[in-house]
Subunit: 199 residues, 2 copies
């Protein structure tokens, strides 16, 4: 079994990185092969080019490598803070560039009409977020757009229907004991997803 | 009167650019001073740094310039395609970096507790989007997260309550006559906003 694990946070000692380490460790203990990418550390270029507007294969080898890893992975895990109801720009650019035709979705042969076809069917996705907003305010005032973005716009569009998400808040107010409980919750979610893949 | 107009699209001959030209031209005809930024042309750096995680003034002069322009502007206009229910990464990074303390919002004096204070009160915002998704599918399947993102997460958070948005779709299927009608609609929306500012 294989997994892609992506993290986007500028501070290497962030709680996001603690989640990233816990999740990668947990996967490796369970003998899952992990493609792990820390986008800030790798200085990933998030700017989709004019050439990449079309549906041809990208000329950027890194884009093709990352798309290939997504396709090979059974489990797709994204870890990031909630910034303005969205991922940080560096991860938004990963989405713009890596979730592309012909790998992650494509247009039906024959041209005109019909919706794009999702090509990540059968995979399982997990999104782990952190925020400094109370859950009630996130849902009732902001409307929690991250849920729509990941579940419908990205994974729904690409044919992934097994979707798990957990938001950890309020991180700024949390103590060490709380953070340790949250890390266990993240690991438990990964275990749950792995069991569903096995079945 | 002053306006900030921001566009994010990799193709200089895109319909987004036609909207940008029409809106800037219309504002100048009405003697509005325009701060116009084509983020792709300017090669804007969208990566929020570790230093910028805090609430101090950024050390990047360009960030402070753009924040200052937002504060000086009566009208804030953003033009971009709908990519995965979100703006392109280069504009997401403008949001991450430019909408920051102490300019656009800030934390109440005295520290603990209480929500951040929006500092863009009294301004008027317009968002003009393009997409290749039918309006019905955008609203009913994807849930139109761009509406929540701009209206609640960004402008609501920063205290902007006069918000206008128009989504032009399906651009890929549109002919020249349709696009000219859409440009007139964009200009009419700007006029409507200007009248509300005058009152």
């Amino acid at each position: 079994m294989k997994a892609t694990v992506i993290i986007a946070h500028p501070y290497p000692l962030s709680f996001n990185h603690a989640i990233f380490q816990a999740v990668c460790g947990s996967l490796k203990e369970r003998s899952v092969f992990v493609y792990a990418h820390d986008l800030y550390r790798e200085k990933f270029n998030p700017i989709l080019t004019e050439d990449e507007l079309g549906s041809d294969v990208s000329v950027d080898a890194l884009v093709n490598q990352y798309s290939g890893e997504l396709l090979e992975s059974d489990l797709l895990i994204f870890i990031h803070p909630n910034w303005w109801g969205q991922p940080p720009a560096i991860l938004k650019g990963y989405i713009d560039r890596i979730f592309r035709p012909p790998h992650c979705y494509d247009f039906p042969a024959g041209g005109e009409g019909g919706l794009p076809v999702g090509k990540l069917r059968g995979k399982c996705a997990i999104v782990l977020n952190t925020s400094n907003t109370a859950q009630e305010r996130e849902e009732n005032y902001f409307g929690d757009p991250l849920e729509l973005i990941w579940k419908q716009c990205i994974f729904g569009f690409c044919g992934v229907d097994r979707f798990y998400r957990k938001n950890f808040s309020i991180v700024a107010d949390s103590d060490e004991a709380q953070r340790i409980r949250w890390l266990h919750e993240a690991e438990a979610l990964v275990d749950e997803a792995l069991e569903n893949i096995d079945n």
